[in-house]
């Protein structure tokens, strides 16, 4: 029976037991089921709910006839050129020649696919007023699509009615852009690349960052609660006669990490399936919901290397925060004191998350700069920020590799620090151990 054990031998038994019990845990299963259900159902549901409502889609307009009543001083407004638009090719545009009320009544009662448009002029502004049947094939989305195109056409028509030629109109309507050119010492222009991110990319990075923060906090809290539960219920005393404290910590952290990564990967697979289902539900030319809302360039960056880099970064970040959580859990003796004990962990997480948010804002506003590079490399923020940035192609392989190395270094330093005090902490029973006491412990000033 007797055999020599190293400081972390037995971690596999702790790992297996913790992982098995976590997977068996009702709360874990229920929360996973809810998330899985949301992941599977969300995209087909969005597809179903927005069916036929996509403004600017290439679907035929449900409107069959448009009566136009022009109450402005502008003459000869002819919208028939809109029939060249593939979505409006079946729409008949006609000027109102009958009584307004009679046509309105007819639209409401029988001519439900027709629309009455009144063009008004009020104190230097124009207004296009759309009237449709309260019930019928023409929905608000159909009116929005029609209104968008008629407004655009009206802009050109009102200039043409004033004698401005098509060419002049194009000149007047041309977009005006600005550009800043930096000059080098010789006065030659220096080529600068626009590396700002789009609004969609910003929200993508923001979403990933927020999701990772939630997952990291959940995993860390589970580790800390598990440590303090074993401490407060005295189970730790039984465990420590069989296994060393470090093995306990390593086994527990890796088990929690596995449980969380299992959730993330399963959810990713389910989201992928859900996206495929939503694509199948849409019309032929439509991709899934994800492709409509997620920046297109992330799919260009979605390769094995980038996925691995992201997973390694996420795992390293989680290990860092989980070790911190393990230490936080060991500094208190009762579950009620856990919130106080988690202060350092919460602050550290918030610092990392806010730096990440700040860098995402800077990326959208002015592109990459020293602060963004710092946020990419800083071990507290990189696990939250970098995965999103890698996927939108804003972080180079070099930056990702450097961030991983820095994160690994910090993890080793933190692990060595915690290893030197964990045995004392885990057996400590009494008032919460404060941060300054942890450093004293590390120097051997306090004993359990």
């Amino acid at each position: 029976m007797s055999m020599k054990k190293s400081n972390i031998s037995g971690w596999k038994d702790v790992f297996t037991f913790t992982l098995t019990q976590t997977l068996k845990n009702k709360a874990y299963r229920v929360s996973f089921l809810i998330m899985a259900l949301i992941a599977v159902v969300s995209m087909p549901l969005i597809q179903y709910l927005t069916k036929g409502e996509e403004a600017g889609s290439d679907k035929l307009s449900p409107v069959e006839k448009v009566y136009i009543q022009n109450e402005t001083s502008l003459q000869n407004l002819d919208f028939s050129s809109l029939k060249q638009d593939s979505t409006l090719k079946n729409v008949e545009f006609t000027n109102l020649t009958e009584d307004y009320d009679a046509v309105s009544k007819r639209i409401e009662e029988s001519e439900k696919a027709s629309v009455l448009v009144t063009i008004k002029e009020q104190s230097g502004a124009f207004m296009l007023e759309f009237s449709k049947a309260s019930k019928g094939p023409v929905k608000d989305a159909g009116i929005s699509a029609l209104a968008e195109k008629m407004t655009e056409s009206f802009h050109s028509l009102r200039l043409l009615t004033q004698g401005i030629t098509k060419e002049q109109n194009e000149l007047i309507s041309a977009k005006v852009d600005t550009k800043t050119i930096n000059l080098d010492a010789q006065g030659n222009p220096v080529e600068t690349k626009d590396d700002t991110i789009s609004f969609n990319e910003y929200w993508f990075i923001y979403g990933i960052l927020f999701f990772l923060m939630m997952v990291t906090l959940m995993a860390s809290t589970q580790v800390a609660s598990s440590v303090v539960m074993e401490k407060s219920s005295r189970i730790v005393e039984y465990l420590l006669i069989s296994v060393r404290p470090l093995a306990l910590m390593v086994g527990k952290i890796l088990a929690m990490l596995c449980a969380v990564l299992l959730q993330i990967i399963s959810l990713m697979v389910l989201v992928f399936i859900s996206n495929k289902v939503s694509a199948a539900m849409g019309s032929g030319s439509q991709a899934g919901i994800m492709n409509q809302y997620v920046p297109a360039n992330i799919f260009q960056n979605l390769n094995i290397v980038n996925i691995l880099l992201c997973l390694v970064l996420i795992a390293l970040g989680m290990i860092f925060y989980a070790v911190l959580a393990g230490m936080a859990g060991a500094t208190v003796s009762k579950i009620e004191e856990l919130n106080e004990g988690m202060t350092l962990l919460t602050l550290t997480t918030l610092v990392g998350v806010y730096i990440g948010f700040g860098a995402a804002n800077v990326l959208m506003g002015s592109g990459s700069n020293a602060f963004v590079t710092f946020a990419f490399l800083f071990p507290l923020s990189s696990p939250f920020l970098l995965p999103g940035a890698i996927l939108v192609g804003k972080a180079s392989l070099f930056i990702a590799a450097a961030a991983i190395i820095l994160q690994m270094l910090l993890n080793v330093l933190l692990f060595n620090f915690v290893a030197s005090i964990y045995e004392t902490l885990i057996l400590h029973n009494g008032n919460r151990i404060r941060l300054k006491d942890l450093f004293k412990l590390n120097k051997g000033g306090i004993k359990a």
């Binding site: 029976m1 007797s2 055999m3 020599k4 054990k5 037995g10 038994d13 702790v14 037991f17 098995t20 019990q21 068996k24 845990n25 539960m229 074993e230 219920s233 005295r234 189970i235 730790v236 005393e237 039984y238 465990l239 420590l240 006669i241 069989s242 296994v243 060393r244 004392t424 057996l427 004993k447 359990a448």
Partner: protein
């Protein structure tokens, strides 16, 4: 093969919680650690198990420093600890795995102990046709049954050295007898046991050697019989149908306790007791009981630690 505890000392700041505790168990049997609440018994046991660091001293098992991770040690803590929400069987198998007990052996031991301790219905709930049988969890058990599970966890590796901290506290008389029976069996199997308890009759029943701690200091240590002998037979119990207070006074004997009809006295020695008895017989005093004996462990314990606490 033995356990040697040498001069272990533990301080928290300036406060000494265990001071120079030394004892040894040369041959299989039970060693008792006694003391009032807060005397340092549990702290001493935790130091012996290596859970707490010590400022001085050493603990040797078979000639080497005791390392519970590598030695086969069983421990029943005073404060019970089980995972409240995990399956009981899973927990026991986990504790067995951590002690390198193969699963098959662990299962057969769990089956044996669950039968012996009458907890098999919780560990192996009977199957009901058409119903899913849910595994029992610790928070569904009574305190006594949780204690039985803890004992199973302590004995699952068939340990050579067993440390029991207040093993009988909180048990009803039936389960106390059950636990005592198991302790007897372990003694019979030549195990080394260290036990702390407040129940003096239990200590007297099982332990040959004792240490009494008070505020971390050893106030008495040694073989229980020798300790008792060193006190001599000075406890005299006399019961009579008539009042004998005047006789007690005339001999100058100290009254330690008085109940209706019975006096508990402390005499100077056997000679004084014999002279007192002779006088009572001469005066034809009807005597119902006249018993001269060594002090009980309870009396020794009270004498050693009681005064100090009364002074407070």
């Amino acid at each position: 093969m033995s356990l040697i505890v040498k001069n272990i000392t533990k301080k928290y700041g300036d406060k000494v919680v265990v001071e120079d505790l030394s004892f040894s168990i040369e041959k299989p049997g039970v060693y008792a650690l006694l003391g009032t609440n807060g005397a340092g018994k549990t702290t001493s046991l935790r130091i012996i198990l290596g859970m707490l660091s010590k400022d001085k001293g050493e603990v040797l098992w078979k000639g080497n420093p005791l390392d519970t991770v590598n030695a086969n040690v069983g421990y029943l803590a005073e404060e019970r600890g089980l995972y409240p929400k995990y399956s009981l069987l899973d927990q026991l198998l986990y504790f067995a795995k951590l002690r390198n007990v193969p699963k098959k052996t662990a299962m057969s031991r769990i089956e044996y102990w669950s039968e012996r301790l009458s907890v098999n219905e919780y560990l192996f709930p009977p199957k009901v046709k058409g119903k899913t049988v849910k595994a029992n969890k610790a928070d569904q058990l009574s305190k006594g049954n949780q204690q039985k599970l803890q004992l199973m966890a302590a004995l699952i590796s068939d340990p050579e050295l067993i440390i029991l901290d207040e093993p009988l506290s909180g048990l009803d008389p039936v389960n106390t007898e059950l636990f005592k029976g198991i302790i007897r069996e372990e003694i019979a199997k030549d195990k080394y046991l260290i036990m702390s308890s407040h129940q003096m009759p239990v200590i007297e029943e099982f332990c040959s050697d004792i240490t009494i701690l008070d505020k971390g200091k050893v106030v008495l240590s040694g073989n229980l019989n020798e300790v008792k002998k060193s006190y001599g037979r000075v406890n005299l119990f006399v019961k009579s149908d008539v009042e004998i207070a005047s006789y007690i006074d005339s001999f100058g004997i100290e009254i330690t306790n008085k109940t209706p009809g019975e006096y508990q006295l402390k005499v100077l020695g056997e000679e004084q007791a014999m002279a007192f008895l002779t006088k009572l017989i001469q005066d034809k005093i009807p005597i119902v009981k006249f018993e001269l004996r060594e002090p009980s462990l309870h009396e020794i314990f009270i004498e050693k630690v009681g005064d100090v606490h009364e002074e407070k």
